[in-house]
């Protein structure tokens, strides 16, 4: 096998199995299937061109998501006028709502599409933290490297993102009448 063919085989063995999570990640960043397809194709091309710099044995998923996020920020995000963060008063309001409510029961977990919608409504930097850590099992450190920020920032964004998701999902659940306020009654303390 030639060196080029060997490189291609090694790259495909590493990167092809990750195409679905990369596409799902791209879709959650771009909100558009066609754009997500273009983005993922760009990621694979760029990854292939720089494959010699990938250190074997390190996390290929983190490496590809780093490329994905970089390409997204530099070439795709400009197409949208998306606020990177909630207005402070909106964020505090949502966090305050989450503060006083206990969780619904596990049986009242929201549907897949409800969670997707709530996730899509998050500010991009919060959504990215959730996509990397909760949906792709990246460590905080790997997510920080991917997003180009400090580990503490990932931690904080993730915390706020989860609070906002809780607030959004229970708002929806409350409208459907299956969320009650307050701490659960079986709490002995």
């Amino acid at each position: 096998m030639t060196e080029a063919a060997s490189k291609r085989a090694r790259f495909e063995a590493l990167a092809v199995p990750l195409m679905t999570p990369l596409f799902n990640g791209a879709l959650r960043l771009t909100h558009d299937r066609r754009t997500a397809e273009d983005l993922v194709q760009d990621v694979y091309l760029r990854a292939y061109r720089t494959f010699d710099r990938f250190v074997e044995g390190t996390n290929a998923r983190a490496w590809l998501f780093t490329i994905l996020y970089s390409v997204f920020v530099n070439h795709y995000r400009r197409r949208r006028r998306e606020p990177e963060s909630l207005a402070p008063q909106d964020l505090e309001s949502a966090l305050a709502r989450a503060q006083v409510e206990g969780p619904p029961t596990p049986e009242t977990l929201p549907t897949h599409s409800e969670v997707e919608t709530a996730l899509a409504d998050l500010p991009e930097v919060f959504r990215a933290a959730v996509v990397l850590v909760d949906l792709n099992d990246l460590s905080y450190e790997e997510a920080a490297a991917t997003l180009g920020c400090k580990v503490g920032t990932v931690r904080s964004r993730l915390f706020r993102a989860r609070k906002l998701l809780f607030s959004a999902l229970t708002d929806h659940a409350r409208k459907l009448g299956y969320v009650r306020r307050g701490v659960r009654s079986e709490d002995p303390t």
């Binding site: 060997s6 085989a9 397809e37 091309l45 969780p103 929201p110 969670v115 905080y140 931690r155 709490d187």
Partner: protein, 265 residues
């Protein structure tokens, strides 16, 4: 409760605390209802997100499109192919598959001058070598039979691909590829055993009658057994679809495998 303390609850949830700190948090949660409620909120959200990580939402044409892009990147020998991107999804699919087909057929024609039906089997034997020797990965790497069926259906083959279950023989499906060989679309399923042995199963619109080789008839089906330099191909017909198994086992063993699976069609 301060925000700082709440993020420690999150650290506990995400398994980021060392054992003593984790123990301290758990002890506190047992005592403090408000912290427990905050912890439960975070855990509930994490549980709600979990199904999204398993979402399999890959457009069926994307693997071929990326494959074609990598082919173009690789090959000064391959003329650059511009993938048109018309607005309609269908148009994009046609363009992507056409681009991939151009590259693959181009390579095939460089290697072989003939495009007879038997060339499909010869090409499969070549594929078998690359899967066996180089650990080549199928374009869609999955052991999920339903995903593989969907992958081939979306490719517009014109027939339903049957994902054979070879687990009784110690082989499990590891993926599938859509190949264009001798101007035909060929669905190729790749199976591996725990010991790394390979079986390829191919299906395409054709006629097995011209495959040649030794003919063995069983339960009204004619099986063509071809010996190909250390590999064995068994070819048979199921309706409009020609099926083939390629393996490197004893020829009679491969024939028995084909008979067992064809009988269940």
């Amino acid at each position: 409760m301060s925000m700082h303390y709440e993020t420690e609850l999150q650290d506990a949830l995400d398994g980021r605390l060392d054992a003593p700190a984790q123990h301290d948090i758990e002890a506190h949660l047992a005592m403090c209802s408000s912290c427990r409620a905050a912890y439960e909120q975070l855990r509930w959200v994490k549980a709600a997100l979990a199904p999204l990580s398993e979402a399999a939402d890959l457009p069926s044409t994307l693997p071929a499109r990326i494959q074609a892009a990598l082919d173009r990147e690789d090959g000064p020998a391959n003329p650059p192919v511009r993938v048109a991107r018309p607005p309609a999804w269908r148009g994009r699919w046609v363009a992507a598959v056409a681009a991939a087909a151009l590259v693959i057929v181009g390579v095939t024609l460089l290697v072989r001058s003939g495009t007879t039906r038997q060339d499909v089997i010869v090409a499969l034997a070549d594929d078998f070598d690359t899967y066996r020797a180089s650990g080549r990965v199928p374009k869609l790497a999955t052991d999920d039979a339903e995903r593989l069926r969907s992958f081939f259906t979306a490719a517009g083959l014109g027939f339903e691909v049957r994902v054979l279950d070879l687990s009784m023989m110690g082989y499990r499906v590891v993926g599938g590829s859509l190949e264009t060989v001798a101007e035909r679309d060929v669905a190729v399923l790749v199976y591996r055993s725990d010991r790394g042995r390979i079986v390829l199963c191919a299906m395409y619109l054709g006629n097995a009658a011209g495959a040649g080789g030794e003919v063995h008839e069983h339960a009204g089906i004619r099986f063509h057994l071809l010996r190909l330099a250390g590999r064995t191909a068994v070819v048979w017909q199921e309706g409009r679809v020609t099926c083939a198994l390629v393996a490197d086992g004893e020829p009679q063993e491969v024939l028995r495998l084909a008979i067992a699976k064809a009988m269940k069609a």
